[in-house]
Symmetry: C2
Subunit: 316 residues, 2 copies
Protein backbone atom coordinates (compact mmCIF):
# COMPACT_ATOMS: atom_id res chain seq x y z
CA UNK A 1 0.00 0.00 0.00
CA UNK A 2 1.40 3.38 -0.94
CA UNK A 3 0.00 6.89 -0.76
CA UNK A 4 0.13 9.89 1.49
CA UNK A 5 -0.88 9.95 5.13
CA UNK A 6 -2.12 13.16 6.72
CA UNK A 7 -1.86 13.14 10.53
CA UNK A 8 -3.52 15.82 12.68
CA UNK A 9 -1.66 16.37 15.93
CA UNK A 10 -1.34 18.41 19.07
CA UNK A 11 1.67 18.16 21.39
CA UNK A 12 3.03 15.31 23.47
CA UNK A 13 0.46 12.53 22.91
CA UNK A 14 0.06 13.27 19.22
CA UNK A 15 3.82 13.47 18.75
CA UNK A 16 4.21 9.91 20.08
CA UNK A 17 1.99 8.55 17.33
CA UNK A 18 3.57 10.86 14.76
CA UNK A 19 6.96 9.36 15.62
CA UNK A 20 5.47 5.87 15.34
CA UNK A 21 4.08 6.73 11.91
CA UNK A 22 7.45 8.12 10.79
CA UNK A 23 8.92 4.69 11.57
CA UNK A 24 6.01 2.53 10.39
CA UNK A 25 5.84 3.99 6.89
CA UNK A 26 7.95 5.95 4.43
CA UNK A 27 8.39 9.34 6.14
CA UNK A 28 8.40 11.00 2.72
CA UNK A 29 4.72 10.04 2.46
CA UNK A 30 3.84 11.43 5.89
CA UNK A 31 2.53 14.95 6.45
CA UNK A 32 1.93 15.96 10.05
CA UNK A 33 -0.39 18.89 10.65
CA UNK A 34 0.27 20.69 13.92
CA UNK A 35 -2.25 22.59 15.99
CA UNK A 36 -1.29 26.27 16.34
CA UNK A 37 -4.17 27.32 18.60
CA UNK A 38 -1.77 27.12 21.56
CA UNK A 39 0.68 29.54 19.91
CA UNK A 40 1.31 32.76 21.77
CA UNK A 41 3.56 35.76 22.08
CA UNK A 42 5.75 35.74 25.17
CA UNK A 43 8.66 38.07 25.95
CA UNK A 44 8.30 39.34 22.39
CA UNK A 45 8.82 35.83 21.00
CA UNK A 46 6.46 33.75 18.91
CA UNK A 47 6.10 30.39 20.65
CA UNK A 48 4.45 27.40 18.91
CA UNK A 49 4.29 24.74 21.63
CA UNK A 50 2.82 21.92 19.55
CA UNK A 51 5.13 22.50 16.58
CA UNK A 52 8.09 22.57 18.98
CA UNK A 53 7.02 19.35 20.69
CA UNK A 54 6.70 17.65 17.31
CA UNK A 55 10.08 18.99 16.15
CA UNK A 56 11.79 17.70 19.27
CA UNK A 57 9.99 14.34 19.33
CA UNK A 58 10.44 13.59 15.63
CA UNK A 59 14.16 14.42 15.78
CA UNK A 60 14.91 12.60 19.05
CA UNK A 61 15.57 15.89 20.83
CA UNK A 62 12.68 15.61 23.30
CA UNK A 63 13.17 15.12 27.03
CA UNK A 64 11.16 11.97 27.67
CA UNK A 65 11.85 11.98 31.40
CA UNK A 66 10.53 15.49 32.03
CA UNK A 67 7.81 14.93 29.43
CA UNK A 68 8.20 18.27 27.65
CA UNK A 69 10.89 20.43 26.09
CA UNK A 70 14.35 19.51 24.91
CA UNK A 71 16.72 16.94 26.30
CA UNK A 72 20.14 18.13 27.61
CA UNK A 73 18.44 21.43 28.38
CA UNK A 74 19.94 24.12 30.63
CA UNK A 75 18.10 26.93 32.40
CA UNK A 76 20.55 29.81 32.76
CA UNK A 77 18.46 32.20 30.68
CA UNK A 78 15.51 31.57 32.98
CA UNK A 79 17.56 31.93 36.16
CA UNK A 80 18.85 35.30 34.98
CA UNK A 81 15.42 36.44 33.89
CA UNK A 82 14.18 35.66 37.40
CA UNK A 83 17.04 37.71 38.82
CA UNK A 84 15.92 40.63 36.60
CA UNK A 85 12.34 40.34 37.84
CA UNK A 86 11.11 39.17 34.43
CA UNK A 87 8.16 36.89 33.69
CA UNK A 88 9.01 33.33 34.65
CA UNK A 89 5.66 31.55 34.66
CA UNK A 90 6.45 29.97 31.27
CA UNK A 91 9.71 28.01 31.36
CA UNK A 92 12.06 28.51 28.41
CA UNK A 93 15.26 26.45 28.30
CA UNK A 94 18.45 27.86 26.81
CA UNK A 95 18.37 25.52 23.80
CA UNK A 96 14.62 25.81 23.32
CA UNK A 97 14.94 29.59 23.29
CA UNK A 98 17.05 29.54 20.12
CA UNK A 99 14.10 28.11 18.23
CA UNK A 100 11.77 30.86 19.46
CA UNK A 101 14.26 33.66 18.75
CA UNK A 102 15.07 32.36 15.27
CA UNK A 103 11.41 31.74 14.41
CA UNK A 104 10.43 35.23 15.59
CA UNK A 105 13.26 36.83 13.62
CA UNK A 106 12.22 35.03 10.46
CA UNK A 107 8.52 35.82 10.94
CA UNK A 108 9.40 39.52 11.34
CA UNK A 109 11.46 39.12 8.19
CA UNK A 110 8.29 38.12 6.32
CA UNK A 111 8.74 34.35 6.15
CA UNK A 112 5.70 32.16 6.81
CA UNK A 113 5.35 29.93 9.85
CA UNK A 114 5.08 26.93 7.54
CA UNK A 115 8.30 27.75 5.66
CA UNK A 116 10.15 28.31 8.93
CA UNK A 117 8.77 25.08 10.44
CA UNK A 118 9.82 23.06 7.43
CA UNK A 119 13.30 24.64 7.45
CA UNK A 120 13.78 23.81 11.12
CA UNK A 121 12.49 20.27 10.56
CA UNK A 122 15.06 19.86 7.80
CA UNK A 123 17.90 21.22 9.98
CA UNK A 124 16.86 18.71 12.63
CA UNK A 125 16.99 15.86 10.12
CA UNK A 126 13.23 15.19 10.13
CA UNK A 127 12.19 13.44 6.93
CA UNK A 128 8.41 13.72 7.31
CA UNK A 129 6.65 16.94 6.30
CA UNK A 130 5.60 19.07 9.27
CA UNK A 131 3.04 21.79 8.64
CA UNK A 132 1.28 24.23 10.94
CA UNK A 133 -2.48 23.94 10.38
CA UNK A 134 -2.45 27.51 9.03
CA UNK A 135 -0.14 30.45 8.50
CA UNK A 136 -2.96 32.64 9.81
CA UNK A 137 -3.43 33.28 13.51
CA UNK A 138 -5.80 31.08 15.53
CA UNK A 139 -5.73 31.58 19.29
CA UNK A 140 -7.44 29.29 21.76
CA UNK A 141 -8.98 30.86 24.83
CA UNK A 142 -10.78 29.34 27.76
CA UNK A 143 -13.78 30.72 29.60
CA UNK A 144 -13.38 29.98 33.28
CA UNK A 145 -15.51 31.28 36.15
CA UNK A 146 -13.87 34.72 36.05
CA UNK A 147 -14.14 35.14 32.29
CA UNK A 148 -11.93 34.45 29.28
CA UNK A 149 -8.28 33.45 29.75
CA UNK A 150 -5.57 33.15 27.12
CA UNK A 151 -4.82 29.48 26.65
CA UNK A 152 -1.28 29.38 28.07
CA UNK A 153 -2.32 31.45 31.09
CA UNK A 154 -4.86 28.73 31.83
CA UNK A 155 -2.78 25.73 30.73
CA UNK A 156 0.59 26.63 32.22
CA UNK A 157 -0.05 29.68 34.40
CA UNK A 158 -3.06 28.17 36.20
CA UNK A 159 -2.03 24.48 35.68
CA UNK A 160 -5.41 23.74 33.96
CA UNK A 161 -7.12 24.13 37.33
CA UNK A 162 -9.93 26.67 36.64
CA UNK A 163 -13.02 24.72 35.50
CA UNK A 164 -13.72 25.23 31.79
CA UNK A 165 -17.10 26.70 30.87
CA UNK A 166 -16.39 27.28 27.19
CA UNK A 167 -13.66 27.31 24.56
CA UNK A 168 -13.09 29.66 21.70
CA UNK A 169 -10.64 29.62 18.80
CA UNK A 170 -10.16 33.24 17.88
CA UNK A 171 -9.58 33.73 14.17
CA UNK A 172 -10.41 30.13 13.21
CA UNK A 173 -13.45 31.22 11.16
CA UNK A 174 -11.22 33.35 8.91
CA UNK A 175 -7.97 31.35 9.02
CA UNK A 176 -7.02 29.59 5.79
CA UNK A 177 -5.82 26.01 6.26
CA UNK A 178 -2.41 25.51 4.67
CA UNK A 179 -3.02 24.85 0.98
CA UNK A 180 -1.02 21.60 1.09
CA UNK A 181 -3.48 20.25 3.69
CA UNK A 182 -6.45 21.02 1.47
CA UNK A 183 -4.61 19.59 -1.54
CA UNK A 184 -3.89 16.35 0.36
CA UNK A 185 -7.52 16.03 1.49
CA UNK A 186 -8.72 16.49 -2.11
CA UNK A 187 -6.19 13.98 -3.49
CA UNK A 188 -7.87 10.71 -4.51
CA UNK A 189 -4.59 8.92 -3.79
CA UNK A 190 -4.61 9.97 -0.14
CA UNK A 191 -4.16 6.78 1.90
CA UNK A 192 -5.72 8.01 5.15
CA UNK A 193 -6.17 10.83 7.59
CA UNK A 194 -5.12 9.94 11.13
CA UNK A 195 -6.30 12.03 14.05
CA UNK A 196 -3.59 11.54 16.64
CA UNK A 197 -4.34 10.78 20.34
CA UNK A 198 -4.28 14.45 21.32
CA UNK A 199 -6.79 16.36 23.42
CA UNK A 200 -9.85 16.56 21.12
CA UNK A 201 -11.05 19.82 22.68
CA UNK A 202 -7.73 21.66 22.86
CA UNK A 203 -5.49 20.19 20.18
CA UNK A 204 -7.71 18.85 17.42
CA UNK A 205 -10.70 21.19 17.78
CA UNK A 206 -8.74 24.32 16.68
CA UNK A 207 -7.73 22.49 13.49
CA UNK A 208 -11.33 21.44 12.82
CA UNK A 209 -12.58 24.93 13.70
CA UNK A 210 -11.35 26.18 10.34
CA UNK A 211 -14.48 25.73 8.18
CA UNK A 212 -12.60 24.91 4.97
CA UNK A 213 -10.61 22.19 6.69
CA UNK A 214 -13.59 20.62 8.41
CA UNK A 215 -15.55 20.56 5.14
CA UNK A 216 -12.61 19.09 3.24
CA UNK A 217 -12.15 16.42 5.91
CA UNK A 218 -15.87 15.51 5.88
CA UNK A 219 -15.76 15.25 2.07
CA UNK A 220 -12.43 13.39 1.98
CA UNK A 221 -12.44 10.11 0.02
CA UNK A 222 -9.75 8.49 2.16
CA UNK A 223 -10.53 6.75 5.48
CA UNK A 224 -10.38 9.02 8.51
CA UNK A 225 -9.12 7.22 11.60
CA UNK A 226 -8.87 8.61 15.13
CA UNK A 227 -6.69 7.11 17.85
CA UNK A 228 -8.23 7.48 21.30
CA UNK A 229 -6.26 9.68 23.73
CA UNK A 230 -8.10 7.97 26.61
CA UNK A 231 -6.92 4.71 28.15
CA UNK A 232 -9.04 3.00 30.74
CA UNK A 233 -11.21 6.08 31.07
CA UNK A 234 -8.25 8.36 31.87
CA UNK A 235 -6.18 10.72 29.79
CA UNK A 236 -2.55 9.54 29.56
CA UNK A 237 -1.48 13.14 30.10
CA UNK A 238 -3.26 16.46 30.39
CA UNK A 239 -6.74 17.68 31.19
CA UNK A 240 -8.80 15.86 28.53
CA UNK A 241 -11.10 13.96 30.89
CA UNK A 242 -11.42 16.85 33.36
CA UNK A 243 -12.46 19.20 30.55
CA UNK A 244 -14.91 16.76 28.97
CA UNK A 245 -16.61 16.38 32.35
CA UNK A 246 -16.70 20.13 32.93
CA UNK A 247 -18.28 20.65 29.50
CA UNK A 248 -20.89 17.92 30.17
CA UNK A 249 -19.51 15.53 27.53
CA UNK A 250 -19.26 11.75 28.03
CA UNK A 251 -15.73 11.49 29.40
CA UNK A 252 -14.53 8.23 27.89
CA UNK A 253 -13.15 6.78 24.67
CA UNK A 254 -16.63 6.70 23.12
CA UNK A 255 -17.11 10.37 24.02
CA UNK A 256 -14.02 11.28 22.02
CA UNK A 257 -15.32 9.39 18.99
CA UNK A 258 -18.68 11.12 19.38
CA UNK A 259 -16.86 14.45 19.40
CA UNK A 260 -15.57 13.60 15.89
CA UNK A 261 -19.04 12.53 14.67
CA UNK A 262 -19.55 12.84 10.94
CA UNK A 263 -15.81 12.72 10.29
CA UNK A 264 -14.60 9.27 11.30
CA UNK A 265 -14.48 5.99 9.43
CA UNK A 266 -12.42 4.10 11.97
CA UNK A 267 -11.35 4.30 15.61
CA UNK A 268 -8.37 2.82 17.41
CA UNK A 269 -8.93 2.31 21.13
CA UNK A 270 -7.29 0.61 24.03
CA UNK A 271 -8.14 -2.87 25.29
CA UNK A 272 -9.09 -1.27 28.60
CA UNK A 273 -11.87 0.67 26.84
CA UNK A 274 -13.21 -2.29 24.82
CA UNK A 275 -16.55 -1.90 26.61
CA UNK A 276 -16.98 1.40 24.76
CA UNK A 277 -17.15 -0.50 21.46
CA UNK A 278 -20.92 -0.96 21.66
CA UNK A 279 -21.37 2.82 21.80
CA UNK A 280 -19.43 3.28 18.58
CA UNK A 281 -22.18 2.10 16.21
CA UNK A 282 -20.96 1.11 12.76
CA UNK A 283 -17.50 2.63 13.19
CA UNK A 284 -14.72 0.20 12.19
CA UNK A 285 -12.53 -0.34 15.22
CA UNK A 286 -9.17 -1.71 16.18
CA UNK A 287 -8.58 -2.63 19.81
CA UNK A 288 -5.05 -3.07 21.15
CA UNK A 289 -2.77 -1.82 23.93
CA UNK A 290 -2.33 1.86 23.05
CA UNK A 291 -0.10 3.16 25.85
CA UNK A 292 3.00 4.46 24.02
CA UNK A 293 6.05 4.25 26.27
CA UNK A 294 8.68 2.80 23.97
CA UNK A 295 9.35 3.39 20.30
CA UNK A 296 8.02 -0.12 19.66
CA UNK A 297 4.74 0.86 21.35
CA UNK A 298 4.51 3.90 19.08
CA UNK A 299 5.19 1.88 15.95
CA UNK A 300 2.63 -0.73 17.04
CA UNK A 301 -0.17 1.85 17.45
CA UNK A 302 0.84 3.52 14.18
CA UNK A 303 0.66 0.17 12.37
CA UNK A 304 -2.79 -0.53 13.86
CA UNK A 305 -4.10 2.82 12.64
CA UNK A 306 -2.62 2.30 9.16
CA UNK A 307 -3.95 -1.27 8.97
CA UNK A 308 -7.44 -0.16 10.00
CA UNK A 309 -7.40 2.54 7.32
CA UNK A 310 -6.21 0.11 4.66
CA UNK A 311 -8.85 -2.44 5.67
CA UNK A 312 -11.62 0.18 5.38
CA UNK A 313 -10.33 1.25 1.99
CA UNK A 314 -10.09 -2.32 0.72
CA UNK A 315 -13.73 -2.95 1.66
CA UNK A 316 -15.01 0.00 -0.37
CA UNK B 1 35.06 66.54 49.89
CA UNK B 2 31.51 65.65 48.90
CA UNK B 3 29.49 66.20 45.77
CA UNK B 4 28.46 64.30 42.70
CA UNK B 5 30.80 62.69 40.20
CA UNK B 6 29.74 62.22 36.60
CA UNK B 7 31.77 59.57 34.77
CA UNK B 8 31.57 59.12 31.00
CA UNK B 9 32.30 55.55 29.96
CA UNK B 10 32.40 53.05 27.16
CA UNK B 11 32.80 49.31 27.76
CA UNK B 12 35.59 47.27 29.30
CA UNK B 13 38.30 49.91 29.99
CA UNK B 14 35.83 52.50 31.22
CA UNK B 15 34.06 49.94 33.38
CA UNK B 16 37.31 49.20 35.23
CA UNK B 17 37.61 52.82 36.33
CA UNK B 18 33.87 53.01 37.03
CA UNK B 19 34.26 50.07 39.42
CA UNK B 20 37.25 51.78 41.03
CA UNK B 21 35.19 54.95 41.50
CA UNK B 22 32.30 52.97 43.02
CA UNK B 23 34.79 51.75 45.68
CA UNK B 24 36.78 54.96 46.10
CA UNK B 25 33.79 57.18 46.88
CA UNK B 26 30.21 56.95 48.03
CA UNK B 27 28.49 55.13 45.16
CA UNK B 28 25.33 57.13 45.88
CA UNK B 29 27.23 60.20 44.61
CA UNK B 30 28.41 58.47 41.44
CA UNK B 31 26.57 58.69 38.13
CA UNK B 32 28.04 56.69 35.26
CA UNK B 33 27.02 57.72 31.75
CA UNK B 34 27.26 54.88 29.23
CA UNK B 35 27.88 55.22 25.52
CA UNK B 36 25.00 53.84 23.46
CA UNK B 37 26.52 54.45 20.02
CA UNK B 38 27.42 50.74 19.92
CA UNK B 39 23.82 49.68 20.54
CA UNK B 40 22.21 47.63 17.82
CA UNK B 41 19.33 45.37 16.96
CA UNK B 42 20.27 41.72 16.55
CA UNK B 43 17.90 38.75 16.21
CA UNK B 44 15.11 41.19 17.04
CA UNK B 45 16.78 42.10 20.35
CA UNK B 46 18.03 45.50 21.50
CA UNK B 47 21.63 45.01 22.59
CA UNK B 48 23.49 47.74 24.53
CA UNK B 49 27.06 46.40 24.77
CA UNK B 50 28.54 49.19 26.90
CA UNK B 51 25.62 49.30 29.33
CA UNK B 52 25.83 45.51 29.65
CA UNK B 53 29.58 45.59 30.27
CA UNK B 54 29.08 48.22 32.98
CA UNK B 55 26.22 46.26 34.57
CA UNK B 56 28.31 43.10 34.70
CA UNK B 57 31.50 44.81 35.89
CA UNK B 58 29.83 46.95 38.56
CA UNK B 59 27.97 43.96 39.99
CA UNK B 60 30.87 41.49 39.87
CA UNK B 61 29.17 39.46 37.14
CA UNK B 62 31.80 40.08 34.46
CA UNK B 63 34.06 37.36 33.10
CA UNK B 64 37.50 38.83 33.72
CA UNK B 65 39.32 35.90 32.14
CA UNK B 66 37.52 36.06 28.81
CA UNK B 67 37.46 39.87 29.06
CA UNK B 68 33.84 40.33 27.98
CA UNK B 69 30.39 39.05 28.87
CA UNK B 70 29.18 37.32 32.00
CA UNK B 71 31.01 34.93 34.24
CA UNK B 72 29.62 31.38 34.66
CA UNK B 73 28.19 31.76 31.18
CA UNK B 74 26.88 28.87 29.08
CA UNK B 75 26.41 28.76 25.29
CA UNK B 76 23.57 26.36 24.61
CA UNK B 77 21.37 28.99 22.98
CA UNK B 78 24.17 29.81 20.56
CA UNK B 79 24.92 26.15 19.80
CA UNK B 80 21.27 25.55 18.95
CA UNK B 81 21.05 28.71 16.86
CA UNK B 82 24.02 27.44 14.85
CA UNK B 83 22.22 24.12 14.37
CA UNK B 84 19.21 26.07 13.01
CA UNK B 85 21.41 28.00 10.58
CA UNK B 86 20.86 31.28 12.46
CA UNK B 87 23.23 34.24 12.68
CA UNK B 88 26.12 33.39 14.96
CA UNK B 89 28.68 36.11 14.28
CA UNK B 90 27.72 37.91 17.51
CA UNK B 91 28.06 35.64 20.54
CA UNK B 92 25.20 35.72 23.05
CA UNK B 93 25.53 33.64 26.21
CA UNK B 94 22.50 32.03 27.82
CA UNK B 95 22.62 34.31 30.87
CA UNK B 96 23.48 37.42 28.86
CA UNK B 97 20.53 36.76 26.60
CA UNK B 98 18.05 37.23 29.44
CA UNK B 99 19.14 40.85 29.74
CA UNK B 100 18.58 41.47 26.02
CA UNK B 101 15.20 39.74 25.94
CA UNK B 102 13.96 41.53 29.05
CA UNK B 103 15.25 44.93 27.86
CA UNK B 104 13.65 44.48 24.46
CA UNK B 105 10.34 43.43 25.99
CA UNK B 106 10.31 46.48 28.25
CA UNK B 107 11.31 48.86 25.43
CA UNK B 108 8.45 47.50 23.31
CA UNK B 109 6.25 48.04 26.34
CA UNK B 110 7.08 51.76 26.23
CA UNK B 111 9.66 51.96 29.03
CA UNK B 112 12.75 54.08 28.43
CA UNK B 113 16.25 52.64 28.11
CA UNK B 114 17.30 54.68 31.13
CA UNK B 115 14.48 53.36 33.35
CA UNK B 116 15.21 49.79 32.28
CA UNK B 117 18.95 50.24 32.84
CA UNK B 118 18.42 51.62 36.31
CA UNK B 119 15.99 48.82 37.17
CA UNK B 120 18.50 46.17 36.07
CA UNK B 121 21.30 47.93 37.97
CA UNK B 122 19.13 47.82 41.09
CA UNK B 123 18.29 44.11 40.61
CA UNK B 124 22.03 43.45 40.31
CA UNK B 125 22.72 45.32 43.55
CA UNK B 126 24.59 48.22 41.91
CA UNK B 127 24.48 51.29 44.15
CA UNK B 128 25.85 53.87 41.69
CA UNK B 129 23.51 55.44 39.15
CA UNK B 130 23.96 54.07 35.64
CA UNK B 131 22.49 56.09 32.78
CA UNK B 132 22.57 55.66 29.03
CA UNK B 133 23.84 58.88 27.43
CA UNK B 134 20.42 59.31 25.84
CA UNK B 135 17.09 57.56 25.45
CA UNK B 136 17.20 58.59 21.79
CA UNK B 137 18.96 56.47 19.20
CA UNK B 138 22.58 57.20 18.28
CA UNK B 139 24.27 54.67 16.02
CA UNK B 140 27.98 54.62 15.30
CA UNK B 141 29.06 53.61 11.83
CA UNK B 142 32.48 53.22 10.30
CA UNK B 143 33.56 54.13 6.80
CA UNK B 144 36.04 51.54 5.58
CA UNK B 145 37.43 51.15 2.07
CA UNK B 146 34.22 49.56 0.78
CA UNK B 147 31.88 52.14 2.31
CA UNK B 148 29.93 52.52 5.53
CA UNK B 149 29.62 49.58 7.94
CA UNK B 150 27.40 49.26 11.01
CA UNK B 151 29.61 49.44 14.06
CA UNK B 152 29.19 45.87 15.32
CA UNK B 153 29.69 44.45 11.83
CA UNK B 154 33.06 46.19 11.83
CA UNK B 155 33.93 45.69 15.50
CA UNK B 156 32.87 42.08 16.00
CA UNK B 157 32.04 40.82 12.51
CA UNK B 158 35.27 42.08 10.91
CA UNK B 159 37.37 42.07 14.14
CA UNK B 160 38.18 45.82 13.67
CA UNK B 161 40.38 44.90 10.71
CA UNK B 162 39.14 47.16 7.88
CA UNK B 163 41.06 50.47 8.07
CA UNK B 164 38.88 53.32 9.29
CA UNK B 165 38.49 56.30 6.95
CA UNK B 166 35.74 58.08 8.87
CA UNK B 167 33.29 57.73 11.72
CA UNK B 168 29.71 58.87 11.98
CA UNK B 169 27.23 58.90 14.87
CA UNK B 170 23.83 58.71 13.23
CA UNK B 171 21.20 60.62 15.17
CA UNK B 172 23.67 62.30 17.57
CA UNK B 173 22.80 65.79 16.26
CA UNK B 174 19.16 65.31 17.27
CA UNK B 175 19.54 63.04 20.30
CA UNK B 176 18.72 64.61 23.65
CA UNK B 177 21.21 63.80 26.41
CA UNK B 178 19.46 62.31 29.42
CA UNK B 179 18.13 65.24 31.45
CA UNK B 180 19.89 64.05 34.61
CA UNK B 181 23.23 64.37 32.79
CA UNK B 182 22.50 67.96 31.82
CA UNK B 183 21.24 68.70 35.34
CA UNK B 184 24.44 67.30 36.86
CA UNK B 185 26.63 69.34 34.49
CA UNK B 186 24.73 72.52 35.42
CA UNK B 187 24.90 71.79 39.17
CA UNK B 188 27.38 74.08 40.92
CA UNK B 189 27.94 71.36 43.52
CA UNK B 190 29.21 68.92 40.90
CA UNK B 191 32.56 67.64 42.17
CA UNK B 192 34.01 66.56 38.81
CA UNK B 193 33.43 64.99 35.45
CA UNK B 194 35.67 62.02 34.76
CA UNK B 195 36.18 60.77 31.23
CA UNK B 196 37.02 57.10 31.67
CA UNK B 197 39.89 55.37 29.84
CA UNK B 198 37.67 54.25 26.96
CA UNK B 199 38.32 54.56 23.25
CA UNK B 200 38.00 58.32 22.61
CA UNK B 201 36.87 57.84 19.01
CA UNK B 202 34.39 55.02 19.54
CA UNK B 203 33.19 55.23 23.14
CA UNK B 204 33.46 58.86 24.23
CA UNK B 205 33.00 60.61 20.87
CA UNK B 206 29.35 59.47 20.48
CA UNK B 207 28.57 60.99 23.89
CA UNK B 208 30.28 64.26 22.95
CA UNK B 209 28.61 64.23 19.52
CA UNK B 210 25.37 65.33 21.14
CA UNK B 211 25.62 69.14 20.83
CA UNK B 212 23.78 69.89 24.07
CA UNK B 213 26.04 67.58 26.05
CA UNK B 214 29.25 68.90 24.55
CA UNK B 215 28.18 72.50 25.22
CA UNK B 216 27.17 71.69 28.78
CA UNK B 217 30.47 69.93 29.38
CA UNK B 218 32.47 72.85 27.95
CA UNK B 219 30.52 75.25 30.18
CA UNK B 220 30.65 73.03 33.26
CA UNK B 221 32.02 74.71 36.43
CA UNK B 222 33.45 71.47 37.85
CA UNK B 223 36.87 70.13 36.84
CA UNK B 224 36.81 67.80 33.85
CA UNK B 225 39.42 65.03 34.10
CA UNK B 226 40.27 62.40 31.50
CA UNK B 227 42.12 59.19 32.26
CA UNK B 228 44.29 58.07 29.36
CA UNK B 229 43.31 54.76 27.73
CA UNK B 230 46.86 54.47 26.35
CA UNK B 231 49.72 52.97 28.33
CA UNK B 232 53.23 53.09 26.92
CA UNK B 233 51.89 54.15 23.54
CA UNK B 234 49.55 51.13 23.29
CA UNK B 235 45.87 50.63 23.96
CA UNK B 236 45.31 48.21 26.83
CA UNK B 237 42.52 46.61 24.77
CA UNK B 238 40.84 47.39 21.49
CA UNK B 239 41.65 49.33 18.36
CA UNK B 240 42.27 52.83 19.80
CA UNK B 241 45.84 53.27 18.55
CA UNK B 242 45.16 51.56 15.22
CA UNK B 243 42.21 53.89 14.58
CA UNK B 244 44.06 57.05 15.64
CA UNK B 245 46.83 56.20 13.19
CA UNK B 246 44.38 55.45 10.38
CA UNK B 247 42.66 58.78 10.96
CA UNK B 248 46.00 60.65 10.99
CA UNK B 249 45.82 61.58 14.67
CA UNK B 250 48.84 61.52 16.98
CA UNK B 251 48.51 58.02 18.41
CA UNK B 252 49.71 58.46 21.97
CA UNK B 253 48.48 59.68 25.36
CA UNK B 254 48.93 63.32 24.32
CA UNK B 255 46.87 62.67 21.18
CA UNK B 256 43.97 61.50 23.33
CA UNK B 257 44.15 64.68 25.42
CA UNK B 258 44.29 66.75 22.23
CA UNK B 259 41.14 64.98 21.06
CA UNK B 260 39.38 66.38 24.16
CA UNK B 261 40.73 69.91 23.57
CA UNK B 262 38.62 72.66 25.07
CA UNK B 263 36.99 70.29 27.51
CA UNK B 264 39.72 69.12 29.91
CA UNK B 265 41.08 70.64 33.12
CA UNK B 266 43.15 67.65 34.14
CA UNK B 267 44.64 64.48 32.71
CA UNK B 268 45.68 61.24 34.37
CA UNK B 269 48.33 59.32 32.45
CA UNK B 270 50.63 56.40 32.95
CA UNK B 271 54.23 56.63 34.08
CA UNK B 272 55.23 55.00 30.80
CA UNK B 273 53.81 58.01 28.93
CA UNK B 274 55.37 60.68 31.17
CA UNK B 275 57.30 61.99 28.15
CA UNK B 276 53.96 63.15 26.73
CA UNK B 277 53.61 65.61 29.60
CA UNK B 278 55.42 68.40 27.74
CA UNK B 279 52.83 68.19 24.94
CA UNK B 280 49.99 68.77 27.39
CA UNK B 281 50.53 72.49 27.87
CA UNK B 282 48.90 73.92 30.99
CA UNK B 283 46.76 70.86 31.67
CA UNK B 284 47.02 69.71 35.31
CA UNK B 285 48.32 66.16 35.28
CA UNK B 286 48.65 63.17 37.53
CA UNK B 287 51.16 60.49 36.57
CA UNK B 288 50.95 57.01 38.08
CA UNK B 289 50.76 53.35 37.08
CA UNK B 290 47.34 53.15 35.37
CA UNK B 291 47.13 49.51 34.28
CA UNK B 292 44.03 48.21 36.09
CA UNK B 293 44.34 44.48 36.70
CA UNK B 294 43.19 44.15 40.31
CA UNK B 295 40.46 45.94 42.22
CA UNK B 296 43.21 47.78 44.12
CA UNK B 297 44.60 49.04 40.79
CA UNK B 298 41.15 50.32 39.85
CA UNK B 299 40.68 52.08 43.18
CA UNK B 300 44.16 53.60 42.91
CA UNK B 301 43.48 55.14 39.48
CA UNK B 302 40.04 56.31 40.64
CA UNK B 303 41.59 57.99 43.68
CA UNK B 304 44.19 59.72 41.48
CA UNK B 305 41.47 61.11 39.19
CA UNK B 306 39.39 62.29 42.16
CA UNK B 307 42.43 63.84 43.86
CA UNK B 308 43.43 65.67 40.68
CA UNK B 309 39.92 67.06 40.33
CA UNK B 310 39.82 68.15 43.96
CA UNK B 311 43.24 69.81 43.65
CA UNK B 312 42.12 71.77 40.56
CA UNK B 313 38.95 72.83 42.34
CA UNK B 314 40.84 73.91 45.46
CA UNK B 315 43.14 76.12 43.39
CA UNK B 316 40.25 78.03 41.80
Amino acid sequence: MTGQILALSGGVGGAKLALGLAHAMSPADLTIVANTGDDFEHLGLHISPDIDTLLYALSGRDDQTRGWGRRDETWNFMATLAELGGETWFQLGDRDLALHVERTRRLHNGETLSDITQAVATSFGIMAQLLPMSDDSVRTRIRAVDGWMDFQRWFVGARCEPPVHALDFIGADKARPHKRILAALADTNLRAVIICPSNPLLSIAPILAMPALRQALAACAAPVIAVSPIIGGQAVKGPTVKMMRELGLPANAAGVAAHYEGLLDGYVLDEADADCARELGKLAISVLPTLMRTLDDKISVARAALALADKIRALR
